[in-house]
Amino acid sequence: MLAVGYFSVVILVGWSKGLVAEMIGNGTGILTGQLQVHAADYQPDKSVHATIGGREGTDVAALVNAVRADPAIEAATPRVYGGGLVSTGSATAAAVFLGVDPELEPQVSRIMGALERGRHPRRGANELLIGAEMARSLGAEPGDTVVVVAPAVDGSLGNDLFVVSGIYSTGLADLDRTFALIPIDALQFLMALEPTRIHEIAASVPDPWQAAEAAERLSAVLEGAGFAVGVESWATLRPEMVEYAQLSQAFQWILLFIVFGMAIFGVANTMLMATFERRYEFALLLALGATPGVIVRSVLWEAMALGALALAAGAAITFPVMVWWHRVPLDLSWLFGDFTMLGALMRPVIRIEYPWLMTVQAAVALFLTAALAAVYPAIRAARIPPADTLAGR
């Protein structure tokens, strides 16, 4: 019972951690990135005028390099944002234009990796990559020419012909309906932005839980280097994910209490039965001069020994499954399809993240359960009347 409890808690917590990791990974990895650098006044309005370095712009390459220099950061890429319309003539769709560096962007986000048909847009070319939902509403296919209209920062209305180079599909309908990716230089030209003017540097941090610390560190470094910017981690950009992760952590404790709370009654019952069956033995020990304290300690030690055996058995069944489902997540796609959680695409897999801390916490809980469950039976055993019991009364 304790071994099964240990297995249940560790595997469920590992799965929960895997779910959170996947949610954060997908929620930040598909487009947002784990860390973003903006002009100090960019948030929360996200005005197209609020470029890093103001109207003068900044040395983009130097800023990207400065961001990449942080030890926690794996890659960084500049971005420009715009809003407008995409039209095929027969159909029009509202779009958020994302100006990307086609070489750097795949190192930070996975949106370009979700290419379904066609190819990526090329730097300097009037090409765009649209989502599957937008392509469906426009009736557009790779190779089609579309009109792109976007308000420029000089007050004019930028418009030009673009070729649909490819269609991506992330599985997130809102994203696939809204975002169109354009080479950064082409979008800057369309929006009358100088090449030095960008809205964002997005960066990837392999361990998302290091992003907040990296953001703090980077903020100080960039400020020291003379960049007037704000640095935000995904935890600030997507607070709902942090809340879910915290909720999930609280749930781990609830799970621990429920599982071992239930186990305690089962174990106590078993211990009571065991001590009842051994009442002659305890009566004899008491008759020979064992103090009630000796009996209590002996029953508690036995419970701890049983706990150790249960832990060994629990670990023997838990760790192989844990490693297996970590390396080869159990694929349940035959049962149900992908789903979204807090805007993140989730795969129907049981993926375990190693819950190392919980393996220790659950082991402690197991021993506590064994000990607590044995307290009442131990006291009962110590109170056995020796003469009556030995006489069979």
Binding site: L286, A287, L288, A290, A387, A391
Partner: protein, 237 residues
Amino acid sequence: MTKQRMPAVKTADVWKVFEHDGLAVEAVRGVSLDIEPGEFVVLAGPSGSGKTTLLNLLGGLTRPTRGGVWIDGRDLTSMSERELAKLRLERVGFVFQAYNLLPVLTALENAEFSLLLRGIPPDERRRRVEELFAVIGMTGLEDRRPAKLSGGEQQRVAVARAVVGKPALVLADEPTANLDSAASDALLGVMADLNRERGTTFVFATHDTRLMERAKRLIRLVDGAIESDDVRQDMGG
């Protein structure tokens, strides 16, 4: 002024009443006894006369319904369970009618159990038990479990367990019940030696006439009360 000798065991108007199916059963009725250190006492009487209950009262295994029991002048009725257990461990040895050996332990481990509870080192425990086993004819059977021993052998292990710690008082309930005459004589010889050489006080409950013949003091119980209490000269040992 002479120092007054303290009884090894003393009872004063001790009663033990059991509740059985709502009825009060008086197992021991108003027994008052003084057993001096070094006495070799036999409690005799028919079944149900209260011998075993009186032994349990004398050893602090059960508390009297009323009256008092003293061992070495210490009032058992005012002691906690822990104090009683310590007293039993240090001063009293029990031989139970049904042997009551622990089935998972060997003969040697059973015999040394009270020494283990006293915290005596393993080598010393083994030495003492082997010495005693040699006297009671159990040499070679040390590693056998109770299931592999005859009734008489089990009884000898039970006696060894009671006396190995050299208690001041040994309470034995039918110790020779399952022994043939030779084994019984050997065992009684061991106990008589302990009685004579160490001054160990023995109180037996028995039907065994051979044991009664060895008694220095024979107390007959009927219906939980003392019918007669005869001190004999030059008997026993």
